[in-house]
């Protein structure tokens, strides 16, 4: 395993490159993924609004397709192509745009295997940016993974680091079911150790990011690094937290979470998604239902308020769960008494 530091953006680009080299049925579709239909060729290829697919248009002629600005059209086309033998990776740009193509995802892609008695598979991956922090306002900043987690038949992946991004994207592309792959737009320049070789991370296997004894902190996507910040601060107060990154929210590795709660007896779940019916509420409910006897304190959830993501920078900063919010929640469950 030869590793070096690359960014989250580069890790995603490398997974796409290696999967396209490995399997000629892998294609890319989306708005501006090549550089825009009016571009003057390879030199102009920007590779998506934030440059994630840069360079692929030239490397894989005919396999990186710029589409019209019609999500209902090209997401439907990607789903259809998947049922006929291709492995399309469709880029939805912002997950907030899923509304206009939800039928293709929710009622078609997610249901084919079931409706056709296992005779049809739909190996499509839909990549999309999510999350607040880039001053992109309420219509481009949501963390909508709970919406897709709700739908049986979809796999939902939320990578928290460059290593996770590369291995989970390779797994998504090789998987025979539709996968919604969530990339946090504020993480593209985050760097980390990533093997040069191709590898896959299995779905439904949580990562224990840090071992600890006092409180279990489950964090999703970008919140994992925020929880790590909190861990350093809590260390100073003599509280050791165990951080668990589920990596995929559907399927969810509940066993690793339960095993940790059995040890610590205390749970905080950190989720950037709106607080009602999000992953934090789901995990909390399942832990309380399965491990009530292990809990020494109520479960705490750290999520933003139930409002659209504010455009005003000062308010957006307040909206996103912070390390201090996690520290406060951990202290609350540590000090809790009847």
């Amino acid at each position: 395993m030869a590793t070096r530091k690359i960014s989250y953006r580069e890790a995603i680009n490398e997974a796409l490159t290696q999967e396209m080299e490995r399997d000629s049925s892998v294609i890319i579709m989306g708005e501006d993924v090549a550089g825009g239909a009016g571009g003057q060729g390879e030199d102009d290829a920007w590779g998506g609004v934030l440059g994630v697919t840069k360079g692929l248009y030239g490397k894989f002629p005919g396999r990186v397709l710029d589409t019209p600005i019609t999500e209902s059209g090209y997401i439907g086309a990607a789903v259809g192509a998947a049922t006929r033998g291709l492995r399309p990776v469709a880029e939805l740009m912002f997950i907030d745009f899923a509304g206009v193509c939800l039928d293709q995802i929710m009622n078609q892609a997610a249901k084919f295997r079931y409706m056709f008695g296992g005779k049809a598979v739909t190996p499509v991956t839909i990549r999309a940016m999510y999350g607040a922090g880039l001053r992109a306002a309420a219509q481009h900043s949501q963390a909508l993974y709970p919406l897709f987690t709700h739908i049986p038949g979809l796999k939902v992946v939320v990578p928290s680091s460059p290593y996770e991004a590369k291995g989970l994207l390779a797994q998504s592309i090789r998987d025979n079911d539709p996968v919604i792959f969530f990339e946090h737009k504020a993480m593209y320049d985050v760097t980390g150790d990533v093997p040069e070789e191709s590898y896959t991370i299995p779905f439904g296997e949580a990562n224990v990011v840090r071992e600890g004894d006092d409180v279990t902190v489950v964090a999703i996507g970008r919140m994992v690094s925020v929880a790590e910040e909190a861990a350093t601060e809590l260390e100073g107060s003599g509280i050791s937290i165990e951080i668990i990154d589920p990596r995929t929210v559907s399927p969810l590795d509940l066993d690793t979470i339960l095993e940790s709660v059995e040890k610590t007896g205390r749970l905080v779940v950190v989720d950037e998604a709106s607080p009602r019916c999000n992953i934090a509420t789901d995990i909390s409910a399942q832990v309380v239902s399965e491990a009530f006897g292990d809990l020494k304190a109520p479960v705490k959830m750290v999520s933003p308020p139930h409002v659209p993501v504010p455009f005003a920078g000062s308010l957006e900063d307040l909206y996103i769960p912070s390390a201090q919010d996690i520290v406060n929640a951990v202290k609350k469950v540590s000090e809790w008494s009847k």
Partner: protein
């Protein structure tokens, strides 16, 4: 500013990925008389905790860093000098060291260099440490099944003090090619011989652990390496008896998750605390690489015959005829010390207490001593 009267004990580099470590406990105090080889501090890295030995003799004049502070590899942690050196000179060295730590201007040049070489169309990755121009016969380290060049972290550095050392990744392992052919010990041994020849090493001492012990033995007897292998040091080698923990070998290959892998890894050590999150995580990262599943499956098929080892290298060891020293952890649960019988009369066998299958990690001093015995160094 170099001053040979004043020596520095620095943060060691234990493993290729180690960038910093912490002193968790001092084992000496300022003013203590220190001899070379004496433990000075307990060091904790992300991966492993162990005692650091001093390379110097003299008086401990200053403990430079705080307990539990993060210190980059190469950073000065202790200043050693004779009692005659005036205090103001010591103070100047300490001030310089602290300034260096504060500014982060420490160059990580103490660790091994990683290089790749092509052997018959397959790449072999290796870590080289020590003076490659040295006249002394170099040492080549061969890890075991599922291991890699990093497993020699406590052993390679001390052995490299007076010679070049090479720790390679066998085919199917680490950063080397994942194409293992039939996965047999013979195939792995011929790539080891190819490695020695490709590097143009006229003569080498081989050190092999577990499966690597069998690989080294077969390489030593290979006509293509005739006269090139000076000695063998074998740590819990397979191939010297039928007793092997087949459940471990299959379980390691098949485990896909942390929870599945952990109980298998715990069989490797006497100290279960060594199976920490980082070790499991590193091994899972290796096992997830494309091609590793198939490589391990081929190797397992070649290693096992039902519940026994199907590898026998005793004939090769006999035909080698050179100096052979073996080290066995008394509590080895993977390749038990009961196998050592067939080496009696043909090799020196040291059974080491407080070690399981990984004596080079749990009791590195015993392994270093055995290597020195095999290579005839003092």
């Amino acid at each position: 500013m170099t001053n040979s009267r004043i020596q520095r004990v620095t943060m060691p580099k234990w493993g290729l990925s180690m960038q910093s470590g912490k002193v968790t406990e001092w084992l000496v105090s300022e003013g203590d008389e220190l001899r070379e080889g004496q433990d000075v501090a307990e060091i904790d890295t992300d991966k492993i905790a162990a005692a650091l030995e001093s390379k110097w003799s003299g008086v401990v004049r200053a403990l430079v860093v705080e307990v539990n502070a993060d210190v980059p590899v190469g950073g000065t942690i202790v200043v050693v000098a004779s009692a005659e050196v005036p205090q103001d000179e010591i103070d100047a060295v300490v001030a310089e060291a602290k300034e260096q730590l504060a500014s982060g201007a420490i160059e990580d040049e103490v660790g091994p260099k990683v290089v790749e070489v092509d052997i018959d169309g397959r790449s072999i990755s290796y870590a080289v440490l020590g003076d490659t121009e040295s006249e002394a016969t170099p040492v080549v380290f061969v890890h075991g099944y599922g291991g890699d060049k990093n497993s020699w972290l406590f052993v390679q550095e001390p052995i490299s003090a007076d010679r070049a050392t090479y720790a390679l990744d066998l085919l199917g392992h680490g950063a080397s090619s994942k194409d293992v052919g039939d996965g047999s010990v013979t195939t792995l041994a011929s790539s080891l011989v190819g490695f020695v020849n490709e590097l143009g090493l006229p003569r080498v001492h081989l050190v092999g652990h577990s499966m690597g012990g069998a690989v080294a033995t077969v390489a030593a007897a290979d006509p293509a390496a005739a006269g090139k292998v000076a000695s063998l040091t074998l740590i819990s080698p397979i191939g010297y008896g039928p007793d092997v923990n087949a459940g471990y070998i299959r379980g390691f290959a098949e485990a896909e998750t942390r929870r599945e892998l952990k109980p298998h890894l715990q069989q490797l050590f006497t100290d279960q605390g060594l199976v920490n999150r980082q070790l499991i995580d590193d091994l899972l990262k290796y096992k997830r690489l494309d091609g590793v599943d198939a490589a391990l499956a081929s190797i397992v098929a070649a290693l096992l015959d039902g519940e026994s080892s199907s590898v026998d290298v005793t004939a090769e060891q006999a035909s080698f005829g050179g100096n052979t020293v073996a080290v066995w952890g008394a509590e080895d649960k993977v390749v038990p010390a009961s196998n050592a019988g067939s080496l009696q009369g043909r090799a020196t066998v040291h059974t080491v207490d407080g070690a399981g299958h990984m004596a080079h990690l749990e009791q590195p001093q015993a392994v270093i001593a055995a290597i020195k015995e095999a290579i005839g160094a003092t």
